[in-house]
Symmetry: C2
Subunit: 251 residues, 2 copies
Amino acid sequence: MSDAPLSRADFTAELEAVGQRQYHDLHPFHQMLHGGELNRGQVQAWALNRFYYQISIPRKDLTLMSRMTDPELRQTWRHRVTDHDGSEGEGGIERWLLLTDGLGLDRDYVKSLRGVLPSTRFAVDAYVNFVGSQPTLDAVASSLTEMFAEAIHRQRIQGFERYYEFANDDTLSYFRHRLKEAPRDVNFGLSFVLDNAHTRDEQLRCVRALTLKTELLWAQLDALYYAYVTPGFIPPGKFVPEGSAPTEYQR
Amino acid sequence: MSDAPLSRADFTAELEAVGQRQYHDLHPFHQMLHGGELNRGQVQAWALNRFYYQISIPRKDLTLMSRMTDPELRQTWRHRVTDHDGSEGEGGIERWLLLTDGLGLDRDYVKSLRGVLPSTRFAVDAYVNFVGSQPTLDAVASSLTEMFAEAIHRQRIQGFERYYEFANDDTLSYFRHRLKEAPRDVNFGLSFVLDNAHTRDEQLRCVRALTLKTELLWAQLDALYYAYVTPGFIPPGKFVPEGSAPTEYQR
């Protein structure tokens, strides 16, 4: 027996509550990042790992599109891929590389993915796999962290400009573009979820999908904090910032 | 152009080197666990999270078997599932629950998986997904961490008996059984890999598969250390040991 579905307003409030409770703007790593408390090597580690997320967003969207049976929906979704991969000009991934350039990271090293923390891969791949195995409704709901993204992008731009010498038009361009792109995406995604979650069970599935998404964003910051802040234990073979030493593990 | 394949001895040495370099017996969390340096709540967190790994090993083996075309190979592999799921008697998962019982954890809570860290899920699910998407050779190679498991089980039994009041025949029974089961598995798995990796490329794929496996074991301990040792930041909504408080995150 399922309860009656929530109203659109109450369901929206339930989705927003997930962000209030556990969006990664609450994570201590982000608070350090935006508050100017990270050194260059720690910001490098963040940008390098987050690059894996950036290149995987189109994998996620293509996986999702490959399972949509409605051509109109696929067409509406398509710009998310071009936003990142580019279309007659640079896209979000190229702009992310301007950030890693500005941080002094070698492009070939960044693109090789050799330095990426295993936990980053597992969390990001969990997103792609979720979208590839769950109904379209749940998959679209998992994208709704975009509801909370505008505030974090603004904080990031302000924090970078205020605290870090690497901040400039190139290194900030990714975030400034996202401020324009994300609102359009979230309007469509939220409408889709509100229109297509008809039962209380479907609404709960959407809340769970969004919760999973916040968990996998959070887990990426846990891993960065653990490896590069406290206790600073870098897994064997992974990125060691300039001026740091690999963590030595002994039997 | 591919190099010539290594001899069986050299290839075996290369596989063993992965364990020397990055098997999770090297991880600080295990060294604390085996050295009696963890409190009860930290051991609870370990056992609770590791329960998700335990119940997923048969998922991994069933996924692997579902992709094997050789009935004889499936039959040879089958006992790995019954070892854990049980067969006319308790299996490894039931024995793991004797450990969580002995640590004072509620069985229903453990089995609900509600307290499991997201990073644990992502790492464990990465294992199941790897086995479900890669050739049988690579999947079998990923199981070869069993080559290194005997030493860690012996350390664990000794450490538990020496340092922890919860150690008894029930709570140690999982590990004592594994000392009997694992050598048979590793002999078969290693022979299979040595017999079926004919080219240097296939050998390198096996090394990469085994490396991935060590990474996902390692990542599980990273997450435990981060949440329950230092800095002790528990992700929102996850297991809080008795006597501890949930981590408070604020904007």
